[in-house]
Structures are given as structure tokens and as C-alpha cells.
């Protein structure tokens, strides 16, 4: 591992990519690169975080992110405790801050938090001395997802700078989209976002991206398509008339894909709705790196847990 770089990380927390510098993002990716190999060993464990306690505080349900963080922590020999909303005192009306203070009183080192409210990890980070890692907050950011996306793109394409990346779908509600926008553009990619106007956030023109409602324009010449999940309840809120109409206009199928570069990468943060935002032949096709994203998630999260823990020493 490139231990020289660890001193570059000075943050207690990882709350989002908007506030990270290009160098900090690259440091995480480089660190993840060194960690990836651990998961390929027969005994997938190193003592790096032995003696550290990491709390996985998931106020909003999650399977892959929680499991990914848990495996990442365990592969670094940290002790982990999982708390979810329905098993915490928050269900009895305890405030987030009080719950967090109580957890911290048990002398833990890192809290990994998923929450349906944007900014909840920021509140937590100010309230506790432990490091806080944002595992997705409302419609704000999902930094480790974006970092694993960046890692996967870099692994496959060898670079990020200069690539054309299109993020397609529900940009309005997507924390993945926001983190990706900051991460990709800081590393020099050219980002286009595409979806129906109802799902593009107001003020998007001030983000460093190109906006289009034309799916063909978004796909044409793209090196990477990052396809977002359409949350089925959005249809009931009149963001679009029907799933069928969405699938026809924005669902990525084989035909639409022909417009992309021949070596296009198909990415999706999951879980996927087959036949809505992505068709099976694309999700399971040769350009898809969806499962590799999941694998890389562990390496990236190991890197993040390692870096925020290092800062504490």
C-alpha cells in the first residue's frame, strides 16, 4: 500500500464529494486500488483496523450498501455493530442527535450513516467526535457510490479525464447523480444529465453539466452510461405519466445503445428495474459492469474507512 499518501487525508468525516478536492478523491481511489486485492485472497482479512469499532447506522433501509460497508469493515478487522431505524430508540421518538450521542458514549470510532433526510450526516458529524461516513442522505449525496463508480470507470477505461459520461433517469431525487456529478467533473469528465424535465432539479444549469431531455443526444458518443433507478412511487406523484411511457422514452435497450461508443460502459447503482430504466439485454449484456461496481464497492469502502480512521490517530 502507498502509505505516503495517508497524511494527505485530513478530514474527520466523509460527507460528500462536493467538498472534496480532486486530490482527495484520487487518494481514495488509489487507496482502494491497494485494498482491492485483499478481497481476492483466500483469507480476506488484514489487521489494519483491528480494535476499531464501526457502527452501521442505517435509518433508511439498504441491503447492498450496508453489506458492502460491513464486509469492508470486517476485512479490515474492525468490529461492527448494525443499527437500523426500526430497531433503534428513534422509533420511540428519540432524536437523531440523542441516539448518536448515546452510541458515541459507547466509545466507537466511525459511524456509517444512511438517512432519508438530506443533511442528516452533517448534523451527526457536528454532534459527535467519531468519524461520520455518509452512506446516502436523502436526495443529497452518496459519496461512496460515486467513488466506486469512479473507481470502476478508471479501472475499465484507464482514465476519467476527457470521458463523456451520461447520467440518465431521475436526477431530481438521486443522491448518486449529485455525488457522481461532483466526482466526475472534478476528475475532468464531461457530464451530461438526461431525464424528463420533471426529474431534472431546478437550477441544474448552474451545475457543471450539460442537460438534455433527448435520450439519443445523451447516448450519442458516450463512453459511460450511468443509468439511475426509477422509483416506482414517482409515477404516482405525476413526475411522468406511466412506467410504460418512461420505458419507451428513457429505458435503455439494445437499439438506443447503438448510438453509444462501441466500448461504452453500462453502469447502474442498483437495484435495477428491468424493463423500465434498463432492459435485460443491456443490464446483462457485454457492456454492463453493474456487478463489478458492487465488487469494487467493498474496496472503495475499505479505503474510506481506513482513511477516516487514520485521521483520528
Amino acid at each position: 500500500m502507498d502509505t505516503d499518501k495517508k497524511t494527505d487525508w485530513t478530514r474527520k468525516d466523509l460527507l460528500g464529494l462536493a467538498e472534496l478536492s480532486k486530490e482527495e478523491i484520487e487518494l481514495v481511489l488509489d487507496t482502494a486500488d491497494s485494498f482491492k486485492e485483499i478481497s481476492l485472497r483466500p483469507i480476506k482479512k488484514v489487521p489494519t483496523l483491528r480494535g476499531k469499532t464501526i457502527v452501521l447506522f442505517f435509518v433508511e433501509p439498504s441491503t447492498r450498501t450496508r453489506t458492502s460497508f460491513e464486509l469492508a469493515a470486517k476485512r479490515l478487522s474492525a468490529d461492527t455493530v448494525s443499527i437500523s431505524a426500526d430497531t433503534s430508540s428513534m422509533i420511540k421518538g428519540e432524536s437523531l442527535k440523542d441516539t448518536a450521542k448515546n452510541i458515541e458514549a459507547m466509545k466507537i470510532d466511525v459511524i456509517v450513516m444512511r438517512h432519508s433526510s438530506s443533511g442528516a450526516p452533517h448534523l451527526l458529524a457536528k454532534a459527535v467526535e467519531a468519524s461520520v461516513v455518509n452512506a446516502g442522505d436523502g436526495c443529497h449525496e452518496h459519496p461512496t457510490q460515486a467513488l466506486l463508480d469512479l473507481f470502476t470507470i478508471k479501472e475499465k477505461k484507464g482514465k476519467i479525464s476527457g470521458l463523456k459520461v451520461s447520467i440518465i433517469g431521475d436526477i431530481l431525487h438521486s443522491r448518486v447523480a449529485r455525488s457522481n456529478i461532483w466526482g466526475l467533473t472534478k476528475l475532468g469528465a464531461e457530464v451530461t444529465v438526461c431525464g424528463p424535465p420533471t426529474l431534472i432539479p431546478p437550477g441544474m444549469e448552474k451545475f457543471p453539466v450539460k442537460v438534455t431531455y433527448d435520450i439519443k443526444e445523451a447516448i450519442k458518443g458516450a463512453d459511460v452510461l450511468n443509468i439511475l433507478r426509477i422509483q416506482l412511487e414517482r409515477q404516482k406523484s405525476n413526475f411522468f405519466p406511466s412506467l410504460r411511457e418512461y420505458a419507451i422514452n428513457f429505458g435503455i435497450d439494445r437499439d438506443k445503445l447503438k448510438l453509444a461508443k462501441p466500448d461504452v460502459l453500462i453502469m447502474h447503482p442498483g437495484p435495477i428495474n428491468r424493463g423500465v430504466e434498463i432492459f435485460p439485454e443491456v443490464a446483462d449484456g457485454p457492456y454492463s459492469v453493474i456487478l463489478e461496481q458492487v465488487t469494487n464497492g467493498i474496496a472503495v469502502r475499505m479505503a474510506v474507512l481506513y482513511l477516516v480512521s487514520q485521521e483520528r490517530e
Binding site: G119, G203, K206
Partner: protein
Amino acid sequence: MKEVILIKGGYIVDPGNGREGVFDILVEKGKIVKIEKNIKDEGHKLIDAGGKFILPGLVDMHCHLREPGREDEETLLSGSLAGIKGGVTTLCCMPNTEPAIDNQGVVEFIYLENRKIKLIDIYPVGAITKKREGKELAEIGELKKAGVIALSDDGNSVMDSEVMRRAMEYSKMFDLLVISHCEDTNLSRGGLMNEGYRASFLGLKGIPPEAETIMVARDIKLAKLTKAKLHIAHLSCKESVELIRQAKREGIKVTCETCPHYFSLTEESVLDYNTNCKVNPPLRTEEDKEAIKEGLKDGTIDVIATDHAPHADFEKDVEFSQASFGIIGLETALGIALKELVETKTINLSQLVEKMSFLPSKILGLDKGKLSVGENADLIILDLNKSWKVEKEKIVSKSKNSPFLNWTLPGVVEYVILGEKLLLDNGRLNHFE
């Protein structure tokens, strides 16, 4: 207090009477008996106001005291003390209490309690509709009889245009002002801050200015239709100012107010999810802020009210989406207005007094906001050579939810006199500190 007070050498700013200059004021048994130059001192209680300003007591026509119902957040007493600190001698409390001020009993309770407190004048605003639900008219005649000074469902918008129309028509019979909280709740639903780049950056659902302007436009139309007296509360955005400017040009009976946070802060203050900047309507853009200032300058906006909305720490120290809307303002309104409007020469001190004292009195039909011989003394003495820092520990209000913490504000209110009461004496709350 001594029965006779002589205030020496203060600079009077009294736009209601068109008086400005250095005068002495003699107050006897709570009444102003003389306003002259060089009144002879005959051993009265003397207040040296040399180099200071004497203004009529401020009239806050829009604030929230939480009594009855949420006395942990504010009471008539704590709200009065906060008001005194801020130079406010008259305040109108909005009806979103629990129970709401939608019946005679609650109005009488407020008057009764305030008679026990005996500090400043408090006038309840009655609800337009029962429980402020926007469905059925409250017993407006009974409310008037009990002493409400105006009608409003503030905190809630009367979404049903028919109900609003009837309220405006019916209120004419009692010469009651209807104060409208303009918000199209279908457009604002789930919103947490101003809609735009900053909200999208933070991942928070936005409230577009149109949620306000659509209802401002509607209520102007209804005021034209009904010829009722309409007052629009807490203007936050550029287009609302323009709509009212136009309505006034057309001679429609509409007045309006804004609050200090709309001409001093923008949506940028919400950075870092500061819940003390979560307010409804939300803090808008720089352009809106400048338009509000322009509206104050050209007289489109008549009144500066506080919209003092106290909330306990546990309601603000939570996730942004869970936090209550509202910020306190009684203690800081004058200072913010001096800093953002007078120091920047947007308006002068006399215009400020108009908007914070004389015009709200006039709009509400109160005989206040002036310094007149033969009338009750209702005045404050302000030292503009001093400044003060807004410190959480020193806030008198029970709640501390201010976005202005640690701001340094110009102007210290040193004396507050209301009738026979010297409520603030050389910066000290009499009998309470």
C-alpha cells in the same frame, strides 16, 4: 416609577406627527405633557437622552407567542420581555396557538393574562377559519367583540378561494383587517427552502416563489372584488413586491409587510443545513432581497414585522427536513433593520419608524406610533452610537432559534416607557433582571 420623568435633549423621530429634532419630553402620570426645547428640570426623574434618539414604541403586527399551548417555547410574559429588549411596546400575536385563537374564550384569556403581566400591549389576531383549517369561517363577530385586532390563519394559507372571499366580505362588517399568509400549499408541499440551485445542491425540496406570488395575486383580486382591507404577510420575493406595487397603483386596498430576514439573508445562509435559516416563506435569492429593499424604499412595503416564531431547541436541533419552520425576531428586528436598511441608506430612520411603528398602528387602527402631547407615553430611547452582539445566552425569548447569532448589530435600546411603566431603564429590564 417616579410620576414625572423628564427626558432631556433627545433627537425625536416622529414621522406620524412630522416632528424631528432635539426636544425635551415631560411625562407625567404616564402621559406626555410637554414636548419642547429646554424644559426646566424641577427634580424629576431625569433621563439624559443627549446624542440619542427618541422614537415611538415599535409596533410588531405579526408575531407568534405560544401561549396558550406551547408555553415551553414562549409565553405572553417572555414574549413581552423579548419585545421590550427590542423596543417593541405593542405586539399582535397570531392565532396559531393550541387551541387556536378562533373563539372568544382564547381572546379573553390572552387579555386577562396580559392584564396580570402588565408590561406591553398585546393584541390577539383572531383566526379566519375554525381551527385555522381553511374550511369554515370562525365566529368573526364574536372574535371582534372579544377584542381581536385583525384576522389571519397565519401559518396556514386559506387555500379555498371561496372561503377567502367570504372571509374578506364578512370582515368588512366589523372593519377587520384580513392578514393573508400567501402560500399555494400544492406548490410548496414538502418544500424546505427556496427552489433553485442551492436547494438542488443540498438535495432539499424547494419552494418556488410562485407558491407565494400566485396567492398574492389571488388575494389582490379578491380584495378588488370585495373591497375589503387586505394585508399581506411576510413578503419574501421580487414578484410579490411587483404585484403589490401594481395593485396599489390601481387603488386596491392592500398593504403588506416583510420581515428582517428577507432583506438581510438569502438562501445561501442555508448552507450546511442550518435549521435556524429554515423559515416559511423561505429565504430567497439576492435578487429577491434587493427587490424587498427596493419595495421598502419606494413605499410598496408598508411594514416591517418580526414574524417572531419561537421554537424549542429540540425542534430545531434535528434533521433539516424534520425541523420546524420559523425564527425569532423580537430582539433583533430593529438592529437588523438599522444595519441593513438605515446604515446602507436604503431608507432613513424616520422611514424606519414609519414602517416599524406608525404604519402598523395606522393599518391596524390603533392610536399609537406617535409622540403626542396629551397622549400616553409610548416611546423608546435608542443609542445609535452603541452596538451589541447577538449572544444566545443573552436572548430573553424562551427560544433561541435565531439565524443572527453572533451578528453585531447597531443601536442599543436603552429606555422603554409605556404609560406609567418604565419598562427598560438604562438597558435593564425593570424588575426582571
